[in-house]
């Protein structure tokens, strides 16, 4: 277990020493969401309606941007290989890296979202739903995305290929997550959406680290 926390600390320490990588992802999130009103028009009724979808799609894209850095540097300098040879189960170390990735890439999206929600004139109850939905959804994005990142390690066309592989798998999270926010904005019940998101989270927690570890071993072979 201590190895799990050790690797989270290590990854956070590494990010802290190179903050720019992460800040660019957050700026991307903000810029992308700002593009839509510019492209569509400032009709606040329309913006309120499309806000859930836009914020969620921007979150998906920002997460994917951050995924390519999840394993690539460890793969390049040989530390990933050492992790596969460690007596500590690789699944545990992978779980730690995914957790660190979420803290660095997912959690900031959750915290930024209300700010963006205000840009789209969402009411406070909807903003609350948005935060909660992203809180449940962004870990799922990190977990599923990690599988794609491991599969495409060191492969030609890695980043774009990663998007092609992972975006279809993100669709259920998008549907339930954006659906929850939309339902909240029109005053409907959101418990169904949240139960489904929670179920997806449990499912990905159960399977994604294993699939990711297997993919890493295949890449290292």
């Amino acid at each position: 277990m201590s190895a799990f926390f050790a690797i989270i600390r290590r990854d956070l320490l590494l990010v802290f020493r190179r903050k720019s990588e992460v800040l660019t992802i957050l700026f991307f999130f903000i810029i992308v969401t700002s593009l839509f009103p510019l492209g569509i028009g400032a009709d606040s009724g329309l913006l309120r309606k499309i806000a859930p979808g836009i914020i969620w799609v921007a979150a998906l894209l920002a997460t994917i941007l951050g995924l390519s850095r999840l394993f690539i540097s460890d793969y390049a300098d040989g530390t990933l290989e050492q992790m596969t040879l460690s007596p500590t189960p690789l699944v545990l170390l992978v779980g730690g890296k995914i957790t660190a990735h979420w803290i660095v890439c997912g959690l900031p999206l959750v915290l930024l979202a209300p700010v963006i929600g205000i840009q789209f004139d969402l009411n406070s109850e909807t903003l609350g739903t948005l935060i909660l939905a992203l809180l449940l959804g962004t870990p799922i994005l990190s977990l599923i995305g990690a599988i794609g990142a491991a599969l495409t390690l060191g492969v030609r066309g890695g980043g774009v290929l990663l998007s092609l592989l992972v975006l279809p798998l993100y669709i259920p999270v998008l549907i339930f997550g954006a659906g929850a926010v939309f339902a909240s904005s029109v005053g409907l019940d959101v418990s169904g959406h949240f139960s489904l998101l929670a179920a997806l989270l449990v499912l990905s927690l159960a399977f994604a680290p294993w699939a990711t570890a297997a993919s890493i071993r295949i890449a290292i072979e």
């Binding site: 190895a3 050790a6 320490l13 590494l14 300098d77 040989g78 460690s86 072979e221």
Partner: protein, 187 residues
Amino acid sequence: MLFTGIGFQLKAGEWLHVRGENGVGKTSLLRLLAGLSKPPEGSVDWSGISIEADPTSYRRELFFLGHRDALKDDLTALENVLIASALDGSAVSQDQALSALCRFGLRGRELLPVSCLSAGQKRRVILARLLLRKATLWILDEPFNALDSRAVELLSSLIAEHLASGGMAVLTSHQAIPLPNAKVLSL
């Protein structure tokens, strides 16, 4: 297919020198022995049990060093050593790490980011890891590369100590390695 028909046994205190020209498959063989890849035929056994049957026990006793340094450039030498041992589940104290780094001539450089160290100094950090890890079997791929003569001496004496206390090693090298009890495998 790189090679076929290879078999050998290694006992405590012995070491295997894998020799051959570039490209003949020395690295591939070492990676096979470490369990990073699987041979299409045959098996690697540790204490009579196939390493695939019980990989965790094997990995506890194994230290593998490939061509890359396995160091994070943005972390200091000390941090690299401490974190690597924590990830292996056998954390060492700061004092132990510092004395290991000191033994390999890195006193005064422990708190520098590894990116500031020379190639030879980076390899010495790995030697410190090797010392602290206390593994039984060392599989080292060209460990003497990029080492200056002083560091070559340090590594040779480290391996000799290791073998004398019952450890085992598999090494590849272009140079001759002045250690007793060698078994040689030429590919």
